[in-house]
């Protein structure tokens, strides 16, 4: 079967593994052995993927002395949880979390709503200037964030006077060209007869939208919501320049503060505790909604 770890062999075995489940060609035991080898060969890579998580979980219970001992301390000798007390009492982490959830939640709600409105508009309505408007909306996908970053900052802070408001953090995500594109593609597949029959029955656009389009496009809207949520929750640079008041800091901005205090050796335990507190809800959230997240990204990922 060749040497374990050789990429060509791994690939070879991978393809065989796929086919055994569906055909009776070839030797079953050989293929089973091959797929077992692949599963084992991926373990080191998976360990690398999980290591940063595991390591802060373990290390957050170490004292600063243990963390920076000249010889590596693999496991904490005592269950030292002072870092967590510090995070709870002294940092704005919880507030940052609340802010991030508020901003992401509002952005997601708004953008899903506008996606279905605009998606319906472009998929099922005919009006003067439709194609140019659609191309215009799509063209915004080509503009990198940095190209509009500085004027946006000037507009929001100087002209709209929105610095240090939640609106400044939500407004840029009110519409998403990506979501509009995906919804439009999806709504194209809904037969016109469905809409026409409702229209004949006297339903207006808003009622069609609410009673027919919305229920049908639930899965695609969920996918958009997930992607949008991950994006807004991760956002750092925009909230960084838009917020001066600590009460408005989102989680990434708070974490930057916490991380910045850690250049000195003291307080590392606290930083790690902050890391654990920050990442745990995300891990739990991910494990609960894993299927939806993976499905959502595979539904929409390629169409981007």
């Amino acid at each position: 079967m060749g040497v374990l770890g050789d990429p060509a062999d791994t690939l070879d075995a991978a393809v065989i593994g796929r086919q055994t489940s569906l055909s009776t060609f070839g030797s079953r035991t050989r293929a089973n052995l091959a797929s077992t080898i692949i599963i084992i060969a991926l373990v080191p890579l998976a360990v690398m993927a999980g290591l940063p998580f595991i390591w802060i979980y373990i290390s957050s219970f170490k004292t600063d002395m243990e963390i920076f001992s000249p010889t590596l301390v693999w496991f904490p000798s005592t269950f030292y949880y002072d870092g967590y007390i510090y995070v709870w009492e002294e940092t704005a982490l919880v507030r940052g979390y609340a802010n991030s959830i508020l901003v992401s939640g509002a952005s997601v709600t708004l953008s899903v709503f506008t996606s279905v409105l605009a998606g319906y508009l472009f998929a099922k309505k005919d009006f003067w200037g439709k194609t140019p408007l659609f191309i215009f909306v799509l063209s915004t996908l080509m503009v990198p964030f940095f190209a509009i970053f500085i004027p946006s900052f000037v507009v929001y802070s100087k002209f709209l006077n929105l610095k240090d408001t939640y609106i400044a953090l939500i407004l840029p995500h009110m519409f998403t060209a990506f979501g509009i594109l995906i919804t439009r593609q999806f709504l194209h597949s809904i037969p016109n007869e469905l809409i026409d029959s409702a229209t004949v029955d006297g339903a207006g656009d808003w009622r069609v939208l609410w009673h027919i389009i919305l229920p049908l496009s639930r899965s695609i809207l969920a996918a958009i919501a997930i992607i949008q949520f991950l994006g807004v929750f991760n956002e750092f640079l925009w909230p960084l320049v838009m917020t001066d008041r600590a009460e408005l800091y989102t989680l990434p901005v708070v974490l930057r503060r916490v991380y910045g205090q850690g250049s000195a050796m003291a307080g590392s335990n606290r930083i790690l505790a902050a890391g654990v507190v920050a990442v745990t809800p995300i891990v739990i959230f991910f494990l609960i909604f894993q299927r939806q997240i993976v499905k959502g990204i595979s539904l929409t990922g390629m169409k981007a």
């Binding site: 991978a14 060609f25 940063p52 693999w74 200037g129 503009v143 500085i150």
Partner: protein, 304 residues
């Protein structure tokens, strides 16, 4: 919009209130928050402006200044190395992992996908916190490796990659790879699963081995996905900001002072908003050229 007026279209009908409201909302929103800032960035690029004192038009001076700015040229170089090395390596790794996962049975595939996907949903700032610690010479991965190797009787001296000019960029690259491996692998996995199995069966009857099957069936059929991922990866990688800003702060020296970080600093540390805007335009042009040329290459080389 003038082009549409000229085209022979069905008689103009008064648009319904729904069409009017949504289309106008879209138009106003994108004009206000994309078109206007973009044009503003173009204009500010021709000015000297610190947001406080008066605006001084300087023509192309900002663009000329870039050619003489050694830090800018260095930033361009660092970004080119980062993007140029990261994107091809990351895409290859994502493709190989996606191919391996596609050929796995459901259960191990699910388990691995979960593990590799956890970094994707982890916000950059949490990743920064975790890796800041994981990279630590005594307390992190280098310490672990030194420990493990010395137990095997080999003397190694792994150190924090971010501490040295030669390896700092590599460290961030590894982190970026870690963060996006699962995403790309999932996209490739979905793409490979869509290839009909009968193609592989036919190839196998013709006596094609697994590697040849990959080369002649899988590869040509996932090229469009590869192209889309490649374009979005270039756009994303050039704009990566968070780890450079928080972890390395551009250092040591200017070894990780990438384009996006230098642009930010020119605006928000030096208050040279005109210069930074001109740089943003250069970034936009670079990304536009990269995207268009990839599309063009794909069109000429991959036609079959």
């Amino acid at each position: 919009m003038a082009t549409v007026a000229r085209a022979p279209r069905p008689r103009w009908r008064r648009p319904s209130s729904f069409v009017l409201v949504v289309a106008l909302a879209l138009l106003i929103y994108y004009m206000l928050f994309f078109t206007a800032p973009f044009i503003a960035a173009l204009v500010i690029g021709f000015l000297n402006w610190d947001l406080l004192s008066t605006v001084v038009p300087v023509g192309f001076d900002n663009y000329v200044a870039m050619a003489d700015d050694r830090t800018f040229k260095n930033a361009l170089k660092v970004s080119a190395i980062f993007v140029g090395a990261y994107v091809p390596i990351a895409l290859s790794a994502q493709l190989i992992l996606g191919a391996i996962l596609a050929n796995m049975r459901t259960l191990p595939q699910k388990v691995y996908l979960t593990l590799f996907f956890l970094p994707v949903v982890t916000p950059w700032l949490i990743a920064v916190l975790m890796f800041g610690y994981l990279f630590n010479t005594q307390a992190g991965l280098p310490g672990m490796l030194n420990d493990i190797f010395s137990a095997l009787g080999i003397d190694t001296s792994f150190v924090n990659p971010l501490g040295s000019k030669d390896t700092a960029l590599l460290g961030i690259m590894g982190m970026t790879g870690w963060k996006f491996l699962g995403f790309g692998a999932l996209i490739f996995l979905v793409g490979i699963n869509e290839i009909p199995l009968t193609l592989y069966e036919a190839a196998r009857i013709d006596g094609a081995g697994a590697v040849r099957q990959f080369r002649h069936i899988t590869w040509p059929l996932i090229r469009p996905i590869m192209l889309a991922l490649s374009i979005t990866s270039f756009i994303g990688a050039l704009q990566i900001f968070d780890p450079f800003f928080v972890m390395t702060r551009g250092g040591p020296g200017d070894a990780t002072n990438v384009f996006s970080l230098y642009l930010y600093r020119q605006a928000f540390d030096q208050f040279r908003f005109g210069y930074a805007s001109a740089m943003a335009m250069v970034m936009f042009l670079i990304l536009l050229i990269l995207s268009v040329s990839q599309l063009a290459i794909a069109r000429t080389r991959w036609e079959y």
